[in-house]
């Protein structure tokens, strides 16, 4: 069937891209996890009965439903992980920006203008 070819090619591509992904603290673990997920995906596409059997084992009627539930779970965790990562990045940017603002020397110091009393503006 054509759909099987398309899906398996897609999974293979995603897995290949993940292999080249950025350096990570637990790169080996991450790769192993990715490979096993991809393998399960390929298996599920090649032999659709597998998902239904697995679903029946855990008390779900259809394999499709089980896949959907797992996908929703995965999506939630992924979103939370990304959210936390973005929050961490934002906090880093804030600290960097603040440090930059505080350490950049001003073109004019307050003291020279302040002691001259009246300040005129020509803007």
């Amino acid at each position: 069937m054509i759909i099987k070819v398309v899906l398996i090619a897609g999974i293979a591509l995603a897995a290949a891209l993940m292999m080249r992904g950025p350096a990570h603290r637990q790169l080996a673990l991450r790769r192993m996890f990715g490979i096993s997920i991809a393998a399960m995906g390929v298996a599920a596409v090649a032999w659709p009965d597998l998902t239904t059997r697995a679903a029946n084992l855990v008390g779900v009627g259809r394999g499709t439903d089980l896949v959907l539930y797992l996908a929703v779970l995965a999506f939630s965790f992924l979103s939370m992980a990304l959210y936390q990562r973005i929050a961490r990045l934002e906090s880093n940017i804030t600290q960097l920006t603040r440090e930059l603002a505080l350490t950049t020397p001003p073109q004019q110091t307050t003291d020279t203008l302040a002691t001259s009393g009246q300040v005129t503006r020509s803007a």
Binding site: T97, A101, Q107, T110, L113, V119
Partner: protein
Amino acid sequence: MHATTSPVPGTRFGPEVCVLVPMYNEVTVVGSVIEELLQHFSHVVCVDDGSTDGSSAVARQAGARVLRHPVNLGAGAAMRTGFEYVLRDPRVQVAVTCDADGQHRVVDAVRLAQRALVGDVDVVLGSRFLADSNTSVPGARRLLLKAATVFTRLTTRLDITDTHNGLRAFGRRAVECTDVTLRGMAHASQVLAAIPEHGLSYVEEPVHIAYTEYSLGKGQRGLNAFNILCDLAVHQMRIAR
């Protein structure tokens, strides 16, 4: 306590009082705000939160020391940068925060600074709802501010009448323990939360707010109150954890 604290209209504070003016795209008004402040304060620091309209140059030209965020981070972050600056300047005893849009009066800032310099309270809060304030707050704005006040009074248990007033004076100890981590507008309440948390003393002073078309246009829209609420709720949960 200090010779400079006599309540004479011509008073001009030295470096011991630092006025912090957080600013974001206020090019049309910030110049005059700073010029007015400089008549009574020699130490005016403008925190430019990544303005793209040339506010920085105008503020500098008007005579303020300008700290510039290269990117926009939000009002809370700008305030924190100002506090951080104050903590690195050992001369500063009192930090006064003042909005850049011209809604505050310099005489009120002077009064708050004098009150804070006395040294018996850590935080002096401006309030537009005290009897002597003479401010007529527009209807919708009044409702929003009242709701915010009720909410903050409940969460912080402070007995105050105006929780979202930009004009405030902080003694050095208050600056040290006020940890503004929220970047957006919820910082106004977060600053207040630090008061009971660190056992700071506080007092309210009546201040007048000039509701100009400009400041109303820039100000918090009604829907933003909901955002402030959410930010605070999330923050409370983080504290509880």
